[in-house]
């Protein structure tokens, strides 16, 4: 729980106030019985009505002060728990913004979302209980102990004897409940997983007639979960009666020995009744504490998950005194680059060396898993090389200030993500201060203008959540427009024409050619037709370059290229090279 402690430091003042206001609560809970004892001993036993009235007035004061304390406690507790939780969320989100692909891949986006929202919420629930209830326990215990001691040191021995019993009980329960709670959590996760699988795979499950089998799989897990839950609840709910029984025994003992003390004149009857009340309230506060124990395991898991995010050092770091990349990019060089994904697996790229000059359009082709996407992802430093170096204008990319490096690159990823907002907002994401003309021009080049104009509202048309209101191809074109509006020095198209039909693909490349001018253009593609007009084509196979040159040259010299081409074009087209359709 060092996570909570860390943030608690910021709110020392509130914490102190929170702690102080607990005394208000203790004052009321313990002060009232004391005053009642006063009435009995000083009033009834002495036959003095004035003492009773006096005690009654004190009761009223205690009530008001005590409640004021409790209200303040609620205020401080709400402040502390909401503030700390908000701080944690903020910190997690800030941390996430320093992450590179490797870290997002490691945690998973769904898990990052859960960590930022739900896990933080679990901690808030726990903090709530902690600051309100858990702090009461020590205060109430100490205060009631002092009061019992004052009333009768000899009787308080009985009270002292119950404390270790209770503490032992709390420790035992938390110890026993831990594995059960973990089992419960695991089973629940498994059940959820099976349900999720059954929902996403509903067609396959039905087509294979496996409904009964899936149900049986679920039942087995359900049975395990029920068993664990039953044990867990019994364990938790038995705590209270057992604690009360301990207290009840103590009450009987106090009556018995209290009677003897009374006989000896060492205690007064009012004190004896107050004694019982002290015990009752101290016991109750311990019970409340055991409630905190019930939510602790869940909060601890959440805290660990959050801590894991905060402790992660992003693999791609912004250099301290980085150079700023500005002006045109003259040359991009890969020298002896090898690369393995940080999460492991085999080497994706082996000893790649190549160099691209200003004004060139270069394409990378190869099978799935050949490493062509990995290669271009090294340029904007989504990942860093394992060996060798990637250099821009002769300087290693790792020495540039990250922002300046990425500003120079217009990268269009395979899976385009659009944000909720208007179409224009999404295009301006590439350049905040783009004029309307620039936005329209970018859309025009990206072959997006027609469909944008066709939408109600045109450029002001909203993009729905998850871009549900645009097709895959439209999404890709908007993503391209977003990159174009920046007019970067280097364009990277990472398989970003795949959802376009062939005619649009063709029109787009024609328009791009004019637009990109003397910038460097890197194209990663599956389709031969997309890359055949590039200045140079690199053919990758299993992480190595197995051919380079123009389309016609490669058809002659590179068997892998020929094989790819043959899988997409027919013989006449292959032979003719530039021939029209058969």
């Amino acid at each position: 729980m060092r996570l909570i402690l860390h943030y608690l430091k910021r709110y020392k003042g509130w914490f102190v106030l929170d702690f102080l206001s607990v005394f208000g609560f203790a004052l009321a809970e313990l002060g009232l019985p004391t005053m009642v004892a006063e009435m009995i001993d000083g009033g009834i036993m002495q036959g003095d009505p004035a003492a009773i009235w006096q005690a009654g007035r004190v009761c009223a004061v205690i009530a008001v002060v005590g409640v004021a304390g409790t209200v303040l406690l609620g205020f401080c507790c709400a402040r502390l728990s909401t503030n700390i939780t908000a701080d944690i969320r903020e910190e997690v989100f800030r941390k996430a913004q320093t992450f590179s692909h490797a870290e997002f891949g490691k945690f998973g986006i769904a898990s990052m979302i859960t960590r930022t929202n739900n896990d933080a919420f679990q901690i808030q629930l726990f903090l709530n209980a902690l600051f309100r209830t858990a702090l009461m326990t020590p205060v109430m215990m100490c205060a009631s102990f002092i009061l019992t001691l004052r009333a009768s040191p000899r009787l308080s021995v009985i009270v002292i004897a119950t404390f270790p019993l209770i503490v032992l009980g709390v420790v035992l329960v938390s110890k026993w409940s831990r594995p059960v709670s973990e089992q419960q959590q695991t089973s629940q996760d498994n059940m959820n997983r099976i349900t999720r699988e059954n929902l996403t795979g509903v067609r396959v499950v039905r087509a294979f007639n496996n409904d009964a089998r899936e149900q049986a799989r679920f039942e087995a897990e359900n049975e395990r979960y029920t068993k664990a839950s039953r044990r867990m609840f019994k364990l938790m709910m038995m705590t209270q009666p057992v604690f009360f029984l301990v207290m009840n025994f103590a009450v009987c003992l106090i009556f018995w020995f209290g009677g003897h003390l009374l006989q000896l004149g060492q205690i007064e009857i009012g004190q004896l009744t107050a004694f019982m009340d002290y015990l009752f309230h101290a016991m109750f506060s311990i019970l409340m504490f055991s409630m905190v124990f019930m939510i602790y395991p869940k909060a601890a898991v959440s805290a660990r998950r959050i801590q894991a995010v905060l402790d992660t050092q992003p693999l791609v770091q912004d250099p301290k005194d980085g150079e700023t990349l500005s002006g045109p990019v003259e040359e991009i060089t890969f020298s002896h680059v090898s690369f393995t994904y940080p999460e492991g697996g085999g080497e994706i790229l082996h000893d790649i060396s190549l160099s691209i000059r200003r004004g060139e359009t270069v394409a990378f082709v190869g099978s799935t898993g050949s490493g062509k996407s990995a290669l271009v992802s090294l340029l904007p430093r989504f990942y860093d090389v394992t060996k060798g170096s990637v250099r821009v204008n002769g300087t290693d990319v790792r020495q540039f200030h990250l922002q300046s490096l990425r500003r120079a690159i217009g990268f269009v990823p395979q899976k385009a993500f659009l944000f909720s907002g208007t179409i224009a907002d999404n295009i301006r994401f590439g350049k905040e201060d783009a004029t309307d003309e620039e936005v329209v021009h970018a859309a025009e080049v990206a072959q997006a203008e027609d469909f944008i104009r066709a939408k109600p509202g045109g450029f002001a048309a909203p993009i729905a959540e998850n871009a549900a209101n645009v097709s895959g191809g439209q999404r890709q074109r908007l993503s391209i427009a977003r990159a174009l509006v920046r007019k970067p020095a280097v364009y990277v198209f990472d398989d970003s024409f795949s959802a376009l039909d062939f005619q649009t693909d063709l029109n787009l490349r024609r328009a791009l050619r004019k637009e990109t001018g003397d910038a460097i253009v890197l194209i990663v593609a599956q389709r031969i037709s997309t890359v055949m007009d590039a200045d140079r084509i690199f053919v990758l196979d299993h992480g190595s370059i197995v051919g380079q040159g123009r389309h016609e040259e490669l058809l002659d010299t590179c068997p892998v290229y020929r094989e790819i081409a043959a899988s997409q074009l027919n013989t006449a087209e292959l032979a003719g090279g530039k021939g029209v359709l058969s």
Binding site: L32, M35, I40, I44, M45, P49, G56, C59, A63, G66, V67, A78, T82, A86, E90, F93, H101, I109, N192, E197, N198, V202, R203, V204, R206, F208, N209, E214, Q215, N222, T226, R230, K234, M237, V242, L245, N248, V251, C252, F255, G259, H260, L262, G265, I269, T368, G369, P380, Q403, F419, F429, G430, E465, N466, D501, F502, L506, Q526, S567, L569
Partner: protein
């Protein structure tokens, strides 16, 4: 008020079938709870009588009455009674806990099972029209909410209500005048709760909205992290997040502080009442009209009133969410199920694999998708279906496997109307490789055997080899390697190969390939072609593909557009026709000359 209650109780009655098997156990636990509450409410009186005895003895001693002493012979039997009472109360409480836990957890197990079963009974259409995150949360969160409500709230409510009634009864027994004063707590508590809840409800609603906003922002900003990185927008999104987070911080604080007010406000009333009762009671004791022990017992009863009242706010929130959860669960459970098999549906023994569509009309809702579709795939033939997106290609598969029911016309398998066949038998005739590659988290072997759990390992391996995925399996750690939860340790292409192997292993008379190789690159696909060809041999195949190169060898190509067959024939014939098919085919290879 009454109507509200009736409205709220409706979903509960739908849950009754799940509670019913446990009704005796529930009843038993309620008996225990009642017994426990009775014993609990008796104890202050008996404790008080000890005090009274001690006090009168002490007073006698103080007054110097001769022979006055603490009469232990009188106290001992009272203490024995008290101890018995305590033990009895604890035993009842334990028994109540055990029985209630057993009954509740058993009920919840049955309910979870029922919900899961429902998933398997609903028509596929339901899943196509409802976001699955929504269904998932219904099953997990809602059932969980119900479970904890039943487990904790039920006990607390019965206990609390009984406690209040019994405490009041006992108070009137002890002293009617003081009891009337103490009774003020009840209306005051209700009033305070009403006022605070009224105000904090708005705060809670605001908090809920703020949580929703935050969730939506976080989801979008994390999902789009790639773009944020690329466009250096980290600073901007941190600011954006900060704004929603601050809003939640404010709303959360208000909601929490507001609801925390109930308990101290009720306590204020309780404290003041205790002060008043103690003062008046002590004065009465002074006059000799009230025993000291009774005063002690009386005050203890007031404390007993306070606790359940302070819990009201928490309980009411829990009950409300439980009702909401119950409503959602029952709404799900009452969805219309996939029709049961026609009575007297005859099983199919041996399937030859002839598939016939006869003037099939079908639409989702009011929009008709297929307008009178007719074709026949003879046993062993390969029929390819091509056409632009939205032409209704995938719908054909939905209908064939009876995921959806046709509106008019007939679909025949070996001459039998598929509606006259048991669904199990119908579906057993098909093997499917879909675009959406679904694997479950288990070993690769289990996944491959999904369609034939008893397949010998040798068959599994030969199927894997046929699908060109054997080498991958070996490199991934062998057949016992696990598919992880997200399935992201296997690439999309490899997943597709695995699903092909899975379908091959099943050895079905009719094979359906829906964009089966869409995630496999063309070069690998070319290499796969031999295996695919072998797999398709000797069985009827329905192939849907957007890559036309994969269907050149089909026996029959159907060109679908807007739910109608616009052309059909073989590849060469259709190309010669220079119609829709030729246009589609040519579009694929255009644009290579710039």
């Amino acid at each position: 008020m009454k109507r509200k209650w009736k409205h709220a109780s409706a979903p509960l009655s739908a849950l009754l079938p799940y509670l019913a098997p446990q009704r005796w156990v529930f009843l038993l636990s309620i008996v225990f709870v009642v017994a426990q509450a009775l014993l609990y409410s008796l104890s202050p009186v008996i404790e008080g009588s000890v005090t009274t005895q001690l006090a009168s003895d002490a007073a006698d001693m103080a007054a110097g009455v001769p022979g006055a002493h603490i009469q232990f012979d009188r106290i001992l039997p009272i203490l024995t009674t008290l101890l018995t009472l305590y033990l009895g109360k604890t035993a009842c409480q334990a028994a109540a806990t055990i029985t209630l836990t057993n009954a509740t957890q058993e009920t919840m197990r049955a309910l979870r099972s029922a919900v899961q079963k429902k998933i398997h009974a609903l028509p596929v259409q339901y899943f196509d029209t409802h976001p699955y995150g929504d269904i998932l949360s219904r099953i997990t969160n809602d059932v969980d909410t119900l479970s904890s409500a039943l487990q904790q709230t039920l006990l607390n409510i019965i206990n609390g209500l009984l406690g209040i009634v019994l405490a009041i009864t006992m108070m009137f027994q002890l002293n009617a005048r003081l009891a009337l004063i103490a009774l003020i707590i009840l209306p005051m508590a209700l009033l305070i709760t009403g006022i605070v809840v009224h105000f904090s409800q708005k705060q809670f609603a605001a908090q809920q909205t703020a949580i929703g906003d935050l969730n939506a922002r976080v989801t979008e900003l994390y999902t789009g992290y790639h773009e944020i990185l690329l466009y250096n927008k980290q600073e901007a999104v941190v600011k954006e997040f900060h704004a929603v987070n601050e809003k939640l911080r404010r709303c959360g604080f208000r909601a929490q502080f507001g609801s925390s007010l109930i308990s101290p406000c009720i306590s204020l009333v309780t404290y003041l009442v205790i002060g008043t009762v103690a003062t008046l009671g002590a004065l009465a004791a002074l006059e000799g009209t009230l025993a000291v022990g009774s005063l002690q017992a009386f005050i203890r009863y007031i404390w007993q009133l306070n606790d359940p009242l302070s819990q009201i706010s928490q309980l009411s929130a829990q009950i409300q969410s439980a009702f909401a959860a119950a409503r959602r669960v029952t709404a799900f459970l009452s969805q219309e199920e996939e029709g049961i098999d026609a009575p007297g549906a005859k099983g199919l023994k041996k399937v030859r694999g002839e598939v016939t569509f006869e003037d099939v009309h079908f639409g989702y809702g009011s929009r008709e998708i297929l307008h009178g579709l007719s074709f026949t795939a003879k046993p062993g033939q390969t029929v390819a279906i091509v056409g632009p997106t939205g032409a209704g290609k995938t719908t054909i598969i939905n209908l064939l496997l009876r995921f959806y029911e046709i509106q008019s016309g007939r679909i025949l398998l070996d001459g039998h109307d598929i509606r006259s066949l048991p669904r199990e038998d119908l579906r057993r005739a098909f093997g499917m490789v879909l675009q959406d590659t679904w694997l479950f988290s288990g070993s690769l072997l289990e996944n491959l055997r999904y369609g034939r759990p008893d397949a010998p390992l040798a068959d599994v391996i030969s199927a894997a080899k046929g699908a060109n995925v054997h080498d991958f399996i070996l490199s991934a750690g062998g057949y016992d390697a696990l598919v992880n939860e997200e399935g992201d340790n296997i690439s999309q292409g490899e997943k597709q190969l695995l699903t092909i192997a899975r379908a091959v292993l099943r050895d079905p008379p009719v094979l359906i390939l829906d964009e089966a190789t869409s995630s496999v690159d063309t070069r690998l696909e070319k290499r796969l072609q031999g295996a695919m060809q072998k797999m398709m041999e000797g069985r009827t195949c329905l192939v849907i593909a957007h890559r036309l190169s994969t269907i050149r060898n089909a026996d029959l190509i159907l060109v679908l557009r807007d739910g109608r067959i616009v052309e059909q024939g073989k590849h060469d014939e259709l190309l010669k026709k220079d119609g829709a098919y030729a246009a589609l085919y040519n579009a694929q290879f255009q644009g290579k000359e710039i």
